[in-house]
């Protein structure tokens, strides 16, 4: 691995650029570099691992029991990645990705805009693998913007990467395996967990039952049992939570919720929210990949072929960014995407490609078993996806409420893109990352159409804020300078 800490050290062209250094991105780079493909991994984090294995090579949490064996499974991946021949640019910002070339209907290369330490450079690639992973589903409840309210994943990142544990009275709320895992990890690290508020709808059990047999034969069974054993004797768990709000003026003071027919209130210093993860589709959306709405997981998923190639030529999508399947599947899918890219680059013939892919496909088939059970069991409740109350903020950046969105739809806004013009929702710094799913579902519900018909925001580069100085640092061709400079 050749570590790149300055934009000037980037090669002008790579056969393959991988975006993201989680299990999928690292695995793609390992496979590609071993085939002699010049590979660059661009990642915005400071060290490899993505979020699931965040800080795997640098974590100050040395007691392996605290984070658990599933976390440490990321270490051999990172070691193989760091020993590979790939170029690796950590703390790098990818702000654009465009097909480039003169031939009509067929672009020659893909041009990426990369900025490192304030200096930007264009990088050309024959193939791109987007491995930008998952993000936590938005959890719009009254008060979720108060300081002191974070995602459960944020607390997990603070622990993994920095050895930080939330102080005072900690309340976890929501649904899904990660919520239970974070509760167990924080408890092992010495946090005081006042309560776990479980929002899992009880009706989910019936829906999950038909997938039970697959689950019992899957690797998830052992993981689930281990997690339940870790959770035993743990903090107070309150099931059947149907409404919830975070209270406080300038910061969180208490959590009020409805369970068992009555309203309860718990004083809290930190509230950690989580109701599952969804693909982070920012880049796939912004470069124009086709997506479909997943009606079971309530999220957008990019369309891919059997080699994980997207609808945009020479761009594949590996890992959870292409559909939630977990870290082990992500690593396998990164390998698969790299095999596909190697063939498209002309480095391996079709027979070699298919032979290399066969064991990977078998592993994916085995690892994916049991997932449907978990998805059905932990389906997030409608009331926590589509706020019933009109006062709940859904666009955190521009502070737009569910009621404002409903009023705008009643006033003629047909979908998320018109809502930008009506309300500015989705136009703040996060560019809709934290509200696009909620807005799509509200529009669909108000208009009586499907989320697929309601659509989503049309995103555009830059994917991340760039300064004028960064743009100005891009090398200019003589022709480009002559086009704007007067002599």
């Amino acid at each position: 691995m050749n570590r790149i800490d300055a934009a000037a050290a980037l090669a002008p062209r790579y056969d393959l650029v991988v975006i993201g250094a989680g299990p999928a991105g690292q695995s793609a780079a390992i496979t590609a570099a071993a085939l002699g493909i010049t590979t660059l991994v661009v990642d915005e984090n400071l060290a490899p691992g993505g979020q699931i294995h965040r800080g795997i090579t640098t974590t100050p949490v040395t007691d392996r029991a605290v984070l658990g064996e599933d976390y440490w499974r990321g270490l051999p991946i990172a070691e193989r990645f760091l020993a590979s021949g790939a170029d690796y640019a950590p703390a790098a910002k990818l702000f654009s990705l465009l097909p480039s070339g003169d031939e009509p209907g067929r672009h020659a290369e893909i041009e990426l805009g990369v900025s490192i330490a304030g200096q930007a450079r264009p990088v050309f690639a024959g193939q791109v693998i987007v491995a930008t992973g998952a993000m936590e589903r938005p959890f719009p409840i009254p008060g979720w913007t108060l300081p002191g309210v974070l995602t459960a994943g944020a607390a997990q990142i603070a622990l993994k990467a920095h050895g930080l544990v939330p102080e005072g009275r900690v309340v976890l709320a929501g649904t899904g395996p990660l919520l239970l895992l974070v509760a167990a990890q924080l408890r092992a690290a010495g946090a005081t967990i006042a309560a776990v508020l479980d929002t899992t709808p009880s009706a989910n059990r019936a829906g999950a039952a038909r997938h039970l047999l697959d689950f019992l034969r899957s690797p998830y069974l052992a993981k689930g049992l281990a997690l339940l054993a870790r959770a035993r004797g743990g903090p107070r768990r309150i099931a059947g939570v149907t409404a919830m709000r975070a209270e406080g003026e300038d910061r969180l003071r208490a959590v009020t919720f409805t369970a068992g027919g009555g309203e309860q209130r718990i004083e809290a210093d930190v509230l950690l929210l989580h109701q599952g993860v969804v693909p982070n589709t920012t880049i796939s959306n912004a470069i124009g990949c086709d997506h479909h709405w997943d009606p079971l997981q309530f999220c957008w998923v990019p369309k891919r072929d059997s080699w994980l190639a997207s609808s945009i030529e020479d761009v594949a999508i590996a890992g959870d960014g292409g559909g939630i399947a977990g870290a082990d599947c992500a690593a396998e899918s990164g390998t698969l995407a790299a095999i596909g890219a190697a063939h498209r680059l002309g480095r391996i013939d079709q027979a070699t490609r298919d032979a290399m892919a066969a064991p990977v496909r078998a592993a994916l088939e085995k690892l994916g078993r049991g997932r449907a059970f978990l998805d059905a069991l932990y389906r997030p409740a409608e009331g926590f996806r589509i706020p019933a109350g009109n006062d709940t903020i859904i666009c955190r950046c521009e502070e737009i409420t569910a009621g404002q969105v409903r009023d705008a739809v009643a006033g003629g806004a047909t979908g998320p893109n018109q809502l930008k013009a009506f309300l500015r929702c989705g136009m703040g710094p996060c560019q809709g990352r934290l509200c696009n799913l909620t807005v799509t579902e509200i529009v669909a519900a108000e208009r009586g159409i499907s989320p697929e018909q309601a659509g989503t925001y049309r995103l555009r580069p830059p994917f991340k804020p760039v300064t004028v100085a960064e743009i100005a640092s891009l090398p200019q061709t003589n022709a480009a300078v002559k086009a704007v400079v007067r002599y």
Binding site: E44, A91, A154, G163
Partner: protein, 99 residues
């Protein structure tokens, strides 16, 4: 708001937040360093001026935007803390020219 595990022994890094001298550890991001110093709020929104603090710590929510060494709109959770960094609260909208 967050405390450090006792066996953490990385090098100490000094920085300022709104002028106040603070310390954190090598390997911290700016957002982690603020949380470890009990700072829950790092900006006021441009829309209504309400208090916000780090929410996702993974670069998607943009709530931990701060001014670092004079440059605004930096994502605190993605920037490695460096010795002597001058970190400031972002109040309201950014200005094109520093006052």
């Amino acid at each position: 708001m967050f405390r450090r595990l006792p066996d953490h022994n990385a090098e100490t890094i000094r920085f300022t937040f709104d002028g106040a001298p603070l310390a954190a550890r090598r390997g911290d991001t700016v957002a982690a360093a603020l949380l470890a110093n009990g700072i829950a709020t790092c900006r006021a929104t441009p829309a209504k001026g309400t208090a916000r603090g780090p929410y996702c710590l993974m670069g998607v929510c943009f709530e931990c935007l701060v001014t670092i060494d004079g440059t605004g709109n930096r994502q605190g959770c993605l920037v490695a803390l460096e010795e002597g960094m001058r970190i400031e609260t972002q109040a309201g909208a950014r200005r094109a020219v520093a006052p």
